[in-house]
C-alpha cells in the first residue's frame, strides 16, 4: 500500500515554512539552503544529545547549550483543561443523583480504575464508606488541544 501522508507532512516543514520565512528573492535556492541549515543543526543537536546519553565527555558550555535548546517541539498550550464546574455537586451522593448512576456502581468503577492504573501507595481506598466521603466536583466540559490535520504546530481545540 502506498501512502502520501509522509510527503504531505514533510512539505510543510521542508517547503512551506521556508517560503513564509524568507524574502522570496531566488526563493527556490533560499528554501533549500535554509532547510539544509536547519536540518544540519537539528541533526547535530540530536547526535550530541545521543552522545550525552551514552556518557560522552562533553564540554560544559556544550551541555549548557543542549539544556537550553530543545530538539523536540512541545505544544505551547495546556493540552487538557476541565471547565464548567457544577455547583450542585460536592459529594458522592450528589454525584450519583445528578448522573442517575448508583453509588455502588460508581464505587466499583473507581476501585477498578484505582487497581488498574495507580501504584499501590497511591490507590484509592476500597472501603465504600471512605470512597463515599471523598469530595467530588462534576464538570461539564473538557478542552483538548489536538494537532490540526496535516499541521505540526497548529492545534484545534476539541470541546468534549
Amino acid at each position: 500500500m502506498y501512502s502520501t501522508e509522509f510527503g504531505e507532512l514533510a512539505h510543510k516543514t521542508q517547503i512551506k515554512a521556508g517560503w513564509r520565512q524568507l524574502n522570496k528573492n531566488d526563493a527556490s535556492r533560499q528554501i533549500v539552503q535554509s532547510y539544509n541549515r536547519h536540518h544540519g543543526i537539528r541533526m547535530r543537536l540530536l547526535n550530541l544529545e545521543s552522545l550525552r546519553q551514552w556518557g560522552a565527555d562533553l564540554s560544559p558550555d556544550m551541555v549548557e547549550q543542549l539544556d537550553t535548546t530543545s530538539t523536540t517541539t512541545a505544544p505551547g498550550i495546556r493540552t487538557r483543561m476541565l471547565k464548567g464546574r457544577r455547583d450542585d455537586v460536592s459529594n458522592m451522593a450528589d454525584f450519583s443523583r445528578v448522573l442517575g448512576v448508583s453509588i455502588q456502581n460508581i464505587c466499583r468503577g473507581l476501585i477498578r480504575y484505582s487497581q488498574h492504573n495507580l501504584p499501590p501507595e497511591r490507590r484509592l481506598s476500597e472501603d465504600a464508606e471512605i470512597l463515599e466521603s471523598l469530595p467530588v466536583e462534576l464538570l461539564t466540559q473538557l478542552e483538548i488541544a489536538v494537532l490540526a490535520f496535516q499541521e505540526t504546530e497548529i492545534y484545534d481545540m476539541h470541546r468534549v
Binding site: R80, V89, G109, L124, V136
Partner: protein, 100 residues
C-alpha cells in the same frame, strides 16, 4: 488492536469529574466516567462504506472510570441504527461539524 482503529476506541462520555483523595496528600484526580463501545467485526472496515462500525457493548459495565489524559479528542460518529455508529475516519472534525 481494534483493527483499522489502530488501538483507539470511541466511547460514550457519561461524566467529567474531579475527586480529592484527602488520605493521599490531598491529591486531586481528574477523571472521566464512560460507557465503552465495541468495534464491530474486530474493527475490520466494511465493504460497503470502507469505514469501521462500533456499537454499545451489551455487557458494558455501566460506569467505567478513566483518567482524562486517556481521552484523545472528539470522534466523528454517524448514527447507524440504534446502538451502532460509523466512525467517519475520512474527514477532519472541523469539516465534519460543518456537515453534520
Amino acid at each position: 488492536m481494534y483493527g483499522a482503529l489502530r488501538g483507539r476506541l470511541p466511547a460514550n462520555l457519561v461524566a467529567l469529574f474531579k475527586i480529592r483523595d484527602y488520605r493521599c496528600e490531598d491529591r486531586v484526580r481528574r477523571l472521566a466516567g464512560i460507557q465503552f463501545v465495541r468495534a464491530v467485526n474486530s474493527g475490520r472496515i466494511s465493504d460497503v462504506h470502507s469505514l469501521v462500525t462500533v456499537q454499545i457493548k451489551e455487557d458494558a459495565q455501566e460506569f467505567t472510570v478513566l483518567d482524562i489524559g486517556t481521552i484523545l479528542g472528539l470522534a466523528p460518529l454517524i448514527p447507524e441504527g440504534d446502538p451502532r455508529w460509523i466512525v467517519n475516519s475520512c474527514i477532519d472534525l472541523r469539516t465534519f461539524n460543518e456537515v453534520y
